[in-house]
Symmetry: C2
Subunit: 250 residues, 2 copies
DNA sequence: CTAAAATTCAAACAAACGTTTGAATGAGCA
DNA sequence: TGCTCATTCAAACGTTTGTTTGAATTTTAG
């Protein structure tokens, strides 16, 4: 089996033709519902070519994600590097961190010519893929990037409980995935959007995400029934410190 | 074929046992990867029982979603009715509308005893299901509810462009779905959450959603650099009116 | 109790699945 | 030219898929 990118002899593009066809079909029908025969038919290659070049369908799926994700996360980390370099050790605004993470994704999602849009739709819906090996693979591929961005977010929001930051980052990834994957995949809002211009999606989404990130921290109802004291007492869970309130205001 | 809810004769619970088993397996493995034999095995019924009671696997899928979705949207609309009745024709705060929509969903997601949690995880990841007939069915099942809530949101945010409200509602559904479906399905954040208490999810999420909804509207970059002025000057797209700014502040 | 209707059951169906095989084909190099 | 090795190809492999069948069984109704 040859899994390298080195050009073969016959059709040097066989590998990439398979990857492109698979990517498109995975978006249209999902991973499971896309058969090897559908892929090889669209790619105009022999059925056995997938097993020859990739070994198995599972390996092909991995490679479809890998080739794009590696580049996407490389761009994200590079953007974060630039932000941190510009800060020169000083404080960093959370909005800068968020933009470093989400802008590359949205720009890839705007690229309709090289399949970037297709892939991002696929990626969005794959985060919740039940298939165990796909989830495992995605988690590994994301581990480093996620670690670095969470650390940057923590540092940029001193005083804000990490648990809350984690949750909000989770929410933000959800909103983003839906914004990308759902614009024409999810038909709930079909025909409702007059203006689905991808170029406007980034400012729209960034406004929303920043608003969500900066929202006042929730105050968990301590004891329901008896009204909680104005400033609560010692219910174990501390109120939001003023430092955190200030940090949330960007 | 008998698709009614009337009790059968032999095992009156055959139908519901199939539905419960299917629901659980759909979450674990996805719609496609769950076979009829897996379902009938877990439900401890004969393989042919599914086709006898539901007609086909597709019809079974529909019924799995329908029985829960009908009740969920009934609760949502009832909550909206109460909010509108309490306002007595006066203005309604957007936060009230949002809560009427999202609270029933999150409460259902907190119910671990009657499979509510299981179902909401399934629902969340099914919004982006590529399967055409599932999307079509979901859209139909949601149509009325979505229409009424969007109308209520529009009315509660006078002056704010409907397009922006629509987008933000879309973002909010995305964040919510991920929050529910992803808490233990998406493994990207695996092991990172110390506090995944479902009871705390509602305040956490509502804070985030409201923050996002109330965020300043994006101002689309008019003409960057020497870019052609598709947005230059009087292009019909107004800046955010002061009325809208006020409305966004709840 | 008996006839009819509803439900369960084991078995089989064709179709589609991912994968493997072994021969045919083509290019690169001696 | 002749040899080698990567690649392509048609065909078949054994499983698994959703669905159907017809008889056995149980419940309902007269």
């Amino acid at each position: 089996m040859n899994t390298s990118t080195s050009p073969g002899k016959h059709g040097p593009e066989t590998r990439s033709r398979i990857l492109d066809a698979a990517e498109a079909l995975f978006v249209e029908h999902g991973l499971d519902a896309t058969s090897m025969r559908m892929i090889t038919a669209r790619a105009a290659v022999n059925l056995a070519a997938i097993n020859y070049h990739f070994g198995s369908k599972d390996s092909l799926i991995q490679e479809v994600f890998r080739r794009r994700l590696v580049e996407l996360n490389r761009q994200r980390l590079a953007a974060l590097d630039r932000v941190e370099a510009a800060a020169a050790g000083g404080p960093i605004k959370p909005s800068r961190v968020l933009e470093a993470f989400f802008r590359p994704a949205l720009e890839l999602a705007s690229d309709t010519e090289h399949g970037g849009r297709t892939f991002m739709q696929l990626l969005g819906r794959t985060y919740t893929e039940p298939n165990a090996f796909v989830r495992q693979f995605l988690a590994e591929e994301y581990a480093e990037t996620l670690e670095r961005f969470l650390a940057a977010l923590y540092a940029s929001l001193p005083g804000v409980p990490r648990e809350e930051i984690l949750w909000r980052f989770h929410f933000m990834m959800g909103a983003t995935s839906y914004a990308i994957a759902g614009t024409d995949a999810l038909q709930l809002f079909a025909g409702k959007f007059d203006d689905a211009d991808p170029a406007r999606l980034l400012p729209r989404l960034m406004s929303f995400l920043l608003g969500g990130l900066r929202a006042p921290l929730p105050e968990y109802e301590a004891a329901r029934g008896t009204r909680r004291g104005r400033d609560g007492g010692a219910d174990g869970r501390r109120r939001v410190p003023v430092e955190a309130r200030r940090a949330l205001r960007e």
